[in-house]
Every structure is written in structure tokens, then in C-alpha cells.
């Protein structure tokens, strides 16, 4: 895409016109990634969010971030309400609307609270300063004698003498550009932020009123179903659509590579699609789950060094015992509850898009390109999104709907079936990790050589005290330039990208060394850590866990793992039982201690940890996309099993207090330790090491035999 197609979709004057009067603060999200991505897009301003105090006293935050269940709708509102001294229920979060909200690179990587939160606070502090100044003029009282509380400013000594934010904003058109960083409240003064707070979006979700993209209904809207190849790499030879065309009121559209049937009811369109007789050239792919790991290693590019210190050869000379192991994980699907969906409505020279996406601005650019529209003529609205986990950073359903809306002249909805969702998912990549390491006679890790094939390098940096280490990445998790083209289908970011695989390998390997050192896994970790924050989190988890670790395999089924996920530290401990006849594992209990810096919404953080632990059990035990010759063999939840009620362990969370550190991300960290903690717990029972994720009953039985 040409850089110059990007321009700001709504300038400040237009924005002010749109929202009417009030006080607007423009600010920047401060996310280094967003700033980097914005370079070269002729951005006229360096702000990318607004805060508005409306004439009705309601406070609105306009941000390109989206809500997909992770709860930032609530936590960001808490940060804003806190700093501005307004009740939480007077805050409106306007999210993911490209017309109202300034550019944002997307909602992923547990970055929203971490990078958007602090400048949001500063913007709120700035707004509060403006309000205090106005109040001072209106009340004829010096600013220092005024107090702001719950949307009012009053004279500190005479609370009857007051003025509301609504009164202050009335008839005003004040805009401020946040340039310097105004002081913000000390966390000890917080009353809204830091409080366990219920989700602000739950009411429409329990009544069925919450609208997801698939729930958008427009007059004359058609549902489109698109002919799909049976395998990745298969190409269409011929198609006979005559039987489909006989269905009353069906519209068949053929455009370049796309054949679609459209009807006012999705099920009728689906039926018509089934009547198309199509011939495909088979896929040239010969890969399957058995051959994939060899293929990945054979196809790997030369490694780049992620981090290194000392000299591996020196480290080897210091070693009393050395270790060499390989770890594997298979492809894993995002499997969001809501399949990818988009609705596109073209009216005149303007297109409106409702999409289940984590990246509305990316979608805006794609639709503009496919329609040949200028960017400002495409508006993407993000309704509630039914799970994302990285899978909704992209999705061709949006451009498909745009093309079909243009061709049919009607509003069009494209909603993927579950089978399409499994076919077009950008899976978590299959990956291989090779680790060589050594410990000296004092049981200290003295070298660590890490080769990462296609997992992605996140969380692969050692946090143990190791004098000689080298971490190399041979192909990342992402797009073609990062090695994506070696996979037989799309791959991409999956909740905690890279880290799930890396933590599985690292923390399994640590346990292997602990056993050889004759130490229990907790003791060995503490022995090899100098990072006090990591020690603290391990001890916090151990205290809650309340069990004594012994040298593995102890037969007790206890496991542990710890990690640093982009600044969030966590330690997880689990208790499992293994049925040695069936190979099935039952996880009875999981304890997770997390230090995520200042906690904005403890209830929200706990929800994320619990969700991570529960979802993570899937890639531990069952989740593996089976494929052969470009075909995806898992097409639904009958064969691709995801965690359900009966799997759920007792989950206990410990939020380790660390308010001095700015808030870190918490949507992903706790899932990344699941592979290791469970593999270590399984080993503790059966004395057999599982080197491959998922640890299916068949693989466990094989290990036992």
C-alpha cells in the first residue's frame, strides 16, 4: 500500500464540529510501536487519541483500541475517571471507530493499558487543570483553594460553593494539545483505579442486546457465501453454478478468483453454495503433522542473535553436566467464539464497514484499496468483538464483503462458517526449540545455547543468572519476511506470540537440569536467580500453593514455571493427576502469582489470568491442527477440542503488589507458562518428559510404554 494513501481521516476542526461544544484534549498513546508505524504516513499531528468533556458533563475517550473481552473498556475508563475526578459511570469509551477515533495500529500484545493508560491519565490531568482554571474564574476563587470531586469543583472550605463540569463545559469550545506531562495523582490517592470493578459491558451481553458484527442488520442486506478451495494451494479449474442459480432470489457473483452466492438469508446462501459443482487443481503441498518439524528445520533461514553474553565455549568448559534437548509444538488455532465477520454498506462515494477486527485502521486501508476509495471515504466501526487472541488482526472477510457490496449494489455481510474459520485462521506456528545447556558442580547454570525455529523470540531472553548464553532465532512467528512462507498456510500472532513455545521449552529444560542437580524445581530456580522480582513472584506463588516441592519425579504431580512476559512477571504452580491407562491428565488446581506493576482493575486482571489458564489447557492437551497436503483436517470442535467446563481446575490468583511500577499488560502473560507448568507436573507424576505440545493422551501413553 502506498504511504501517501494514509492521511488523517478527520481533522480537528471537523472533530470539534461533530462533537459540538466542550473541552477537548488531544494526546498521543505513546506506544513506540504505534509511533513507528505511523512514520511516513504523513501524519499531520502527533496525537492519536482524544478526550472530550461534553456540554452535558459526560466524559468521552475516543480511541482506536477495541474491546474483545479483555476488559480495557473498563480499565481505561477507570484510569480516566480517577484522574479526572468523575464517577466511572459518566465515562463513555468510544472505541475502534475510524471516523471518530484517531489512528491506532491495533489491539494486541497486551499493550493497551501499558501504553495507552499513562498518556490517557495525563490527558485527564490536563483536562482537570483546564476545568480548575475555568472554575477559578467562575467562582472567583484562587485555583489552590478548589477541590475536584465526582464531576464537580467546589471551594475546599465552602463545599456549597461549587460548579459542575457540565456547567463549565457548557458553551465552550476549548481545545488543548497535551504537550508537557502534567503531574498525575499518586497511586495512594486512588479511589477508582485499583478498585476491583465489574465489567462495564456486561449488561448488553447478558440480555443479547450487545451487537457483534454478525448482528448488524441493514435494509436489503445480503448474506454472501464464497466458494472455497478444499486445500491451501488448490486452485479453481472450473465451476458450474447453474443449480445454485435456480434457487429463488439468489444472486451469483463471479469476479476474478471469487465465486459468491448471495441471499437475504445466510442459510439459503449456504444451501446454494453447496449446489456449485467445482473442480480444483490439487495443492502442491506434501506436508503433514508428521513431516512438519523436519521441514521447518530444513527450511530455516540463518539465525539472528536475539541476545548473547559471554562465550558458549567458555561456558562448556565450566560445565560438570551438559544437557541437549529439543522441544516441539504443533499448529494451534485461535478458534474465537465469533467467527470472522464483516458487513459493508456502500452509499454513493462512501463505504461503512462493521467488522470483527483487532485492527480497524488496517481494515480501513484494505477496504479503501480494494474499492479504490480515498481513505476518508471508508469508515470502519468495530462493534463488540467475540474473542480475538491475535486471530483478528487480519481477515479477508472484510475486503470480500467490500468487493461484494460494490458488485451487488447492496449491503453485504460475509460471516465465516466454523470450517472457514479453521481454514483461514492464521495459526500459532508449529515450532522447534533446541536447547543445549550446562551446570557446574555448584549446580549453577553456566551456559545456555538456544535455537528457536519459527516460534518467535518473545520471552526467549534468559532471566536466570547465566554467565554464557546465546539465543538465536531462525525464523519468527509472523509474516513472510519473518519466515511465514515456510508454513503450508497462514500463521500469525496467537495470544502471547512466541512466548507459549519459548516458556514451554525453557521451563521444561530448567526442570530437567534441576533433577540432574538433585534439587527440587523451586530450589533450583531460586538458586539460579538473582532477579529479586522473579524470586519474589516465585515465593508468592509457592506460599499460596502451600505444598512442598520435592526432587522430581516425586509422584505428587506438582509442577511450576515462571516467566517474564514483556515486563509482567508471573509464576504458576499446578497439581495434576495422570491416568496411566488412558494417558489422560486431570488438572486439579492451578495457582498463579502475577506482578503486573500497578493494577488498575484487580477483578479484570484476575479474569484475564483465569481465562489464560483455562484457555491454555487446550494447547497443553488437545489443540493441534491436523493437516495433510494443504487440507485442514480439523474443521470444527468435534475433532479440535477446546477446554470445557469439566476440564476447569480450581484456579487461585495472587496479585503481587507493585504499584511503583507503571501498569504492565495482563491479557496474555498467564497463558504463556501453561505448557511448561503442566509438562513439569506430568513429569512429576509419571517420570517421563513430554517434549511435544499438545500432550495428548496418545503421546502420554507412548511416553509411558
Amino acid at each position: 500500500m502506498r504511504d501517501d494513501t494514509y492521511s488523517f481521516t478527520l481533522d480537528r476542526r471537523e472533530f470539534l464540529k461533530l462533537v459540538g461544544g466542550g473541552i477537548v484534549i488531544f494526546f498521543s498513546t505513546g506506544d513506540p510501536l504505534a509511533l513507528q508505524q505511523r512514520r511516513g504516513r504523513r501524519y499531520p499531528e502527533d496525537f492519536n487519541a482524544y478526550l472530550l468533556i461534553g456540554e452535558d458533563g459526560r466524559v468521552s475517550c475516543f480511541t482506536g483500541k477495541i474491546e474483545m473481552g479483555q476488559g480495557i473498556h473498563t480499565s481505561l475508563a477507570q484510569m480516566l475517571a480517577e484522574e479526572l475526578d468523575v464517577p466511572l459511570n459518566s465515562v463513555d469509551m468510544v472505541m475502534g471507530d475510524t471516523e471518530l477515533c484517531p489512528y491506532d495500529s491495533g489491539t494486541f500484545g497486551s499493550r493497551s493499558t501499558k501504553y495507552f493508560g499513562p498518556p490517557l491519565r495525563q490527558a485527564a490531568a490536563e483536562a482537570r487543570a483546564v476545568l480548575i482554571q475555568l472554575a477559578s474564574e467562575q467562582l472567583g476563587t484562587p485555583q489552590k483553594n478548589l477541590t475536584a470531586k465526582e464531576g464537580n469543583i467546589f471551594v475546599t472550605d465552602n463545599p456549597q460553593k461549587k460548579v459542575s463540569y457540565a456547567q463549565l463545559a457548557k458553551g465552550k469550545k476549548i481545545e488543548r494539545h497535551l504537550e508537557k506531562k502534567p503531574p498525575i495523582k499518586h497511586y495512594s490517592k486512588h479511589t477508582v483505579s485499583g478498585n476491583p470493578t465489574d465489567r462495564v459491558d456486561s449488561k448488553p451481553k447478558v440480555t443479547g442486546e450487545a451487537k457483534f458484527a454478525v448482528d448488524i442488520r441493514l435494509p436489503d442486506m445480503l448474506h454472501a457465501k464464497i466458494l472455497r478451495p478444499p486445500a491451501h494451494g488448490a486452485t479453481l479449474k472450473s465451476a458450474d453454478t447453474s443449480a445454485a442459480k435456480k434457487i429463488p432470489n439468489i444472486q451469483v457473483i463471479q469476479d476474478k478468483d471469487m465465486i459468491a452466492v448471495l441471499h437475504k438469508h445466510p442459510d439459503v446462501a449456504e444451501k446454494a453454495l453447496g449446489l456449485i459443482k467445482a473442480q480444483f487443481e490439487p495443492s502442491g503441498s506434501t506436508l503433514d503433522n508428521k513431516t512438519i518439524f523436519k521441514h521447518l528445520k530444513d527450511s530455516a533461514p540463518n539465525g539472528n542473535v536475539v541476545t548473547e553474553e559471554g562465550n558458549i565455549e567458555d561456558g562448556k568448559r565450566l560445565s560438570a553436566k551438559t544437557f541437549e534437548k529439543a522441544y516441539y509444538n504443533h499448529y494451534v488455532a485461535h478458534a474465537p467464539s465469533e467467527p470472522h465477520t464483516a458487513v459493508v454498506n456502500i452509499e454513493g462515494d462512501k463505504a461503512t464497514v462493521w467488522a470483527s477486527t483487532q485492527s480497524p485502521f488496517r481494515a480501513q486501508g484494505e477496504v479503501a484499496q480494494v474499492l479504490g476509495f480515498p481513505l476518508e471515504k471508508v469508515r470502519v466501526i468495530t462493534p463488540f468483538v467475540g474473542c480475538g487472541f491475535g486471530g483478528k488482526n487480519q481477515g479477508n472477510q472484510i475486503t470480500e464483503a467490500a468487493r461484494l457490496a460494490k458488485l451487488s449494489g447492496k449491503p453485504v455481510q460475509v460471516a465465516w462458517t466454523r470450517k472457514e474459520e479453521f481454514f483461514y485462521d492464521t495459526f500459532r506456528p508449529a515450532a522447534v526449540i533446541d536447547i543445549k545447556s550446562g551446570i557446574n558442580s555448584a549446580n549453577q547454570i553456566v551456559f545456555w545455547e538456544y535455537h528457536n525455529y519459527f516460534a518467535g523470540d518473545r520471552s526467549s531472553q534468559p532471566f536466570y543468572n547465566i554467565p554464557h548464553y546465546k539465543v538465536q532465532s531462525m525464523g519468527g512467528w509472523g509474516g513472510r519476511s519473518e519466515g511465514g512462507s515456510v508454513h503450508p498456510f497462514g500463521v500469525g500472532a496467537w495470544r502471547g506470540p512466541g512466548s507459549n513455545t519459548n516458556v514451554f521449552a525453557i521451563e521444561s529444560h530448567i526442570d530437567i537440569m534441576a533433577e540432574e542437580a538433585g534439587m527440587n524445581p523451586l530450589e533450583f530456580r531460586l538458586h539460579n536467580l538473582t532477579d529479586e522480582r522473579m524470586k519474589r513472584i516465585l515465593l508468592a506463588a509457592a506460599e499460596k500453593f502451600g505444598k512442598t516441592f520435592a526432587k522430581a519425579p516425586s509422584g505428587k504431580g506438582y509442577g511450576l514455571a515462571c516467566t517474564d512476559y514483556l515486563g509482567t512477571y508471573l509464576a504458576t504452580m499446578a497439581e495434576v493427576n495422570v491416568n496411566q491407562n488412558s494417558g489422560e491428565v486431570r488438572v486439579g488446581r492451578v495457582v498463579c502469582a502475577q506482578d503486573t506493576g500497578e493494577v488498575i482493575n484487580p477483578e479484570g486482571v484476575r479474569m484475564q489470568i483465569e481465562g489464560c489458564i483455562t484457555m491454555g489447557l487446550g494447547y497443553c492437551f488437545t489443540e493441534e491442527i491436523r493437516f495433510s497436503n494443504g487440507r485442514i483436517l480439523d474443521e470444527n470442535f468435534d475433532t479440535y477440542e477446546i477446554p470445557r467446563f469439566s476440564w476447569t481446575p480450581k484456579i487461585e490468583t495472587v496479585l503481587v503488589d507493585n504499584p511503583e511500577m507503571p501498569p504492565q499488560g495482563c491479557g496474555e502473560p498467564a497463558i504463556t507458562s501453561m505448557g511448561a507448568v503442566i509438562a513439569n507436573a506430568v513429569y512429576d507424576v509419571i517420570g517421563k518428559r513430554m517434549f511435544t505440545l499438545p500432550m495428548t493422551p496418545a503421546r502420554i501413553k507412548e511416553a509411558l510404554s
Partner: protein
């Protein structure tokens, strides 16, 4: 072949002309614009499309329209009573028993039908009954707590 089909939906009698072989899910969502009932797997493996037919839970993506003739359907839109949230809805909110919210209508209706028959379910009863409802966000433990809270409220316990 289209037919005229009469049934009761959320307390109101309704008649519509459609192909009786069509699945109830699509008639609700597309013909009647009741979008609270969700499509998630389309093959009866996830429970997101759960509605009640004569108080029995059915997977509406697998349930032909023919099957509702003369019967009474309850969808999530019909659960409120005189504008007041049902105790299950309140309990789901109170326990934050949801994240993305996409599976929630199916969860609530599945739980509702269970509580009609079993007003005092054990945790095991809940797990066994709800096992077919999937929540990718992983809110299962909170959903169990919400159902227990709602059950207590419905029984009139103050405890």
C-alpha cells in the same frame, strides 16, 4: 416447499411462512432479527445457539423450524420479565461470568432450563449439564458461581 408455521416466541404468538426444513437459528437471526442467539460452530458442538423449546434446551443450529410448530420458544431476548433482568442475568453480571460475551446467551439459556428442573444443582450437576457449552475466554468457574448464585436467588434463599 414453504409452509405457514405458527408458534409462540417469547410469549407472543407468531406465524410465518418459510421452508420448514430451515434451521431455527437462521429463522430467529435472519427472518426475525433476534440476534441474541449466536452462531458459533453451526454443527451442534458448542451450545452458543441454545434456545428453549417448551422449556427444553435445543441447539437451534440443528433444530428444523418444523419442530417448533405449536410450541413455545424462549430466546435470550425473552428472558427479562417486565423489563427486569432475570436472576441469572444479574448473577452473570455480578460474577463477571463473561468476557467477550458471545457464548453468554447460550450459557444463560442452558442454565435457565437446568434450574427449571433442578433448582439446587451441585457443581457436578452444573458441569455435567453445561458441558456442551463452550467458552473460549475461559469463564467456566465464574459461570458455575453465577449459576449457583442465581439458583439461590430463584429459590428465595438470602444466604
Amino acid at each position: 416447499m414453504e409452509k405457514n408455521i405458527r408458534f409462540k416466541l417469547n410469549g407472543k404468538t407468531l406465524s410465518l411462512t418459510s421452508d420448514p426444513d430451515r434451521m431455527l437459528l437462521w429463522v430467529l437471526r435472519s427472518d426475525l432479527d433476534l440476534t441474541g442467539t449466536k452462531y458459533s460452530c453451526g454443527e451442534g458442538f458448542c451450545g452458543a445457539c441454545t434456545v428453549l423449546v417448551n422449556n427444553e434446551p435445543v441447539l437451534s443450529c440443528q433444530f428444523p423450524l418444523q419442530g417448533v410448530v405449536g410450541k413455545e420458544i424462549l430466546t435470550i431476548e425473552g428472558l427479562k420479565n417486565n423489563g427486569k433482568l432475570h436472576p441469572l442475568q444479574t448473577a452473570f453480571m455480578q460474577h463477571n461470568a463473561l468476557q467477550c460475551g458471545f457464548c453468554t446467551p447460550g450459557m444463560i439459556l442452558g442454565a435457565y432450563s437446568m434450574l427449571l428442573k433442578n433448582p439446587e444443582p451441585s457443581t457436578k450437576d452444573i458441569v455435567d449439564t453445561m458441558e456442551g457449552n463452550l467458552c473460549r475466554c475461559g469463564s467456566y468457574n465464574r459461570i458455575i458461581q453465577a449459576i449457583q448464585t442465581a439458583a439461590r436467588t430463584m429459590r428465595g434463599d438470602k444466604s
